[in-house]
């Protein structure tokens, strides 16, 4: 059975994170590794580009014959994750129905932050356990807090084990009329109950207490997931790829992510800077050279409009190039010494599948895109 190497890609929104993660997955698969790309925040366009569907299932991604039989994708649908999550968490259907009827669940389910992430982590864990893959690329939600999401299982376990929960659970017992305990413990409990009661109000606290009692009963499922996730995230082979683009927001996000990795005693494996090409495409240079030759095949009107267009294009490249250089300069002091910065090109207007293929070309032969075996 194989234990896959995990690559976690993190970064802010709008930097092309999901696309470049898919491209990394493709480059690894081209190199011979059985690769799974998991996207926490799937976009219809990318799913279409890879040739897979959004949903819980793992599907082969038939985007490139050079990776045939080796590239797989999983893109869980956030809209159905509450239901899927409940099925995963509460194996007993009777209990599941009871939880769903709790007004506290009803009011709060829609805003249960992190449920989708936890479900995704549980699904990834299931795939890892199958031992089918050499490489797993986990593309997190486009947020600077993506790393916090990854530790949700542990945080929630902590919550379930916290004393406050025990109090809440015992309050639920009390509401159902179980035996009273005297002495200092009861006095302390009454104080805290009173405090919570003041904050939350009467009926709310009972429903909430019931909900937490249900959660307590499936604590082992949490504990198992939390343990495995922690082991995975802290594994020495696990890589953290920070993805950015030349914009002030994206650079700040990377700085923030470096610090949150540091807090977890981790460091970035590399920074990938999208839209950071060094040269304009060869075709533009070639067209300009052709116009300069003054060939009779090119009519004057066409030459004039093409020169105008090429001038616009070159100005755009120069701006992007300068902005990418600035970005690298701004990044360097924010990164641990020696962190490689990989500049990927701006892939102009193209279909999403073309962008994935072009970026996989840019990844080709880079040490980061080579599987260890």
């Amino acid at each position: 059975m194989k234990t896959p190497r995990i690559t976690v890609s993190v970064g802010g929104g709008g930097v092309g994170k999901t696309t470049s993660s898919a491209a990394l997955g493709l480059a690894l698969a081209r190199g011979g590794a059985r690769t799974l790309v998991v996207t926490v925040d799937p976009a219809r366009r990318l799913a279409d580009a890879l040739g897979v569907e959004i949903g819980q299932a793992t599907r082969e991604a038939p985007i490139d014959p050079r990776a045939e039989g080796r590239l797989f994708a999983k893109m869980p649908d956030p809209r159905s994750s509450i239901g899927d999550f409940m099925e995963w968490l509460f194996v007993d259907p009777v209990q599941r129905e009871r939880v769903k009827k709790n007004p506290a669940y009803h009011e709060l389910a829609d805003s249960l932050a992190g449920v989708h992430e936890i479900l995704t982590i549980a699904l990834v864990q299931r795939e890892i356990d199958t031992g089918d893959f050499d490489e797993v690329v986990l593309d997190t939600a486009p947020s600077r807090n993506a790393l916090a999401f990854l530790t949700y299982p542990t945080q929630l376990l902590g919550l379930l084990e916290a004393k406050a929960m025990t109090w809440l659970a015992s309050m639920a017992d009390a509401a159902q009329g179980s035996e009273k305990r005297g002495g200092l413990f009861a006095w302390g409990r009454a104080k805290v109950e009173g405090l919570f009661g003041r904050v939350l109000g009467g009926s709310g606290i009972r429903n909430l207490a019931d909900l937490f009692t249900e959660l307590m009963s499936v604590r082992e499922r949490w504990a198992d997931l939390a343990r495995k996730t922690d082991a995975l995230l802290g594994h020495p082979r696990t890589r953290y790829m920070l993805i950015g683009a030349p914009s002030g927001g994206a650079i700040a996000d990377i700085g923030y992510l470096v610090r949150s990795l540091e807090r977890r005693k981790l460091r970035p494996t590399a920074v990938v800077l999208n839209r950071a090409e060094r040269e304009p495409p060869l075709c533009e240079q070639a067209m300009l050279a052709l116009l300069d030759q003054g060939r009779p095949e090119v009519v004057a009107a066409d030459e004039a409009v093409l020169r105008e267009t090429l001038t616009d294009l070159r100005r755009e490249h120069e701006l992007r190039h300068a902005s990418a250089d600035d970005a690298v300069r701004a990044l360097e002091p924010r990164l641990p010494r020696g962190t490689p910065i990989l500049r990927l090109p701006f892939v102009g207007p193209a279909q999403p599948s073309e962008i994935v293929l072009a970026l996989a070309d840019a990844w080709a032969d880079h040490p980061l895109a080579v599987s260890r075996d």
Partner: protein, 303 residues
């Protein structure tokens, strides 16, 4: 047109004392929020630009601003402590409660608390009366509906308790119709606009009203007229050279993008009862002043 400047800019498009700006990450949301704040401040209004758990985006957005805007950052801890103080009877106790280990975990683990206490912080800032306009740059995760329905949910779910009562006050003072405008920032792509349309429908269903404004950002402009045809003719004239063909493909892609952007704008303008403004694409991040100028221009053209 120059006579219209006083009445039809972006500052006059939004009239409520609280303006929530929402949108996915990377769509230019913070810059648009900054631009709206600056436009309001130019009118002589006292303006706060409020951010949740982030102090960089607003600072960056306000860099180079030519009118004074207060930058306010809400952190989760401070929002909770301030909200608890009147309930538990004082800031000292509130701080002790909120920092108590078990309670901290409880609050952090409980859903929707971040949204609720952040909105309570908005309410407090407004109640202080030091600002005429508060522009709130909502976090990229979680859309405005998910945020703005929370006070109402607290009111229903915790009815009878002090948090339930607070839910009602927050809703009435900084969420209700007439108190708050919602601005959605979206990219100029037909699919994105369709998502925006769904969001707008959810707004109507759950909040009983529509967003006030959709800003369609990064509208790609057209290349010079005839450039694609010229490139295609040159490519045909040199069939052995792949480069002109590649350039023609790039120009075709750009033409598609410009067409998509046009289509996206058309779709957005078809949204029932929602005002739409466009901001053009630029090769690098635009400054807040650029965005104010574009929003003003777009508002005038639309008016």
């Amino acid at each position: 047109m120059s006579t219209a400047t006083a009445t039809s800019g972006i500052a006059d498009t939004l009239r409520c004392p609280v303006i929530y700006v929402t949108g996915k990450g990377g769509v230019g949301k913070s810059t648009v929020a900054g631009a709206i704040a600056v436009a309001k401040a130019r009118k002589g209004l006292r303006v706060a630009l409020m951010e949740v758990d982030d102090d960089e985006a607003g600072k960056r957005a306000l860099r180079g601003a030519d009118a004074s805007v207060d930058h306010v950052v809400i952190t989760f801890e401070s929002a909770i402590e301030t909200a608890f103080a009147p309930i538990v009877g004082g800031m000292m106790i509130a701080r002790a409660v909120a920092r108590q280990h078990a309670v901290k975990k409880l609050i952090r683990g409980m859903p929707a608390t971040r949204e609720f206490f952040s909105l309570e912080a908005v309410r407090k800032l407004k109640a202080d009366g030091k600002h005429d306009v508060i522009v709130v740059d909502l976090p990229a995760s979680g859309h405005a509906v998910d945020w703005l329905r929370v006070p109402g949910a607290f009111e229903r779910f915790l009815a009878g308790g002090p948090l339930g009562a607070l839910g009602r006050r927050v809703h009435d003072e900084v969420v209700a119709r007439g108190q708050a405008d919602v601005v959605i920032v979206a990219l100029a792509e037909p699919l994105v606009i369709k998502e925006t349309e769904q969001l707008s429908r959810r707004f109507l269903e759950e909040m009983g009203r529509r967003p006030s404004l959709v800003v369609v950002n990064r509208v790609a402009s057209r290349d010079p007229e005839g450039s694609l045809e010229a490139a295609e003719r040159v490519a045909a004239a040199f069939p052995d050279d792949p480069r002109p063909r590649e350039l023609a493909a790039i120009l075709r892609g750009r033409a598609d993008l410009a067409r998509d952007a046009f289509e996206a704008l058309r779709l957005a303008r078809g949204l029932d009862g929602v005002k739409v403004l466009a901001v053009p694409e630029s090769a690098v991040d635009p400054s807040v002043l650029d965005v104010v100028r574009w929003l003003d221009l777009s508002a005038k053209v639309t008016a």
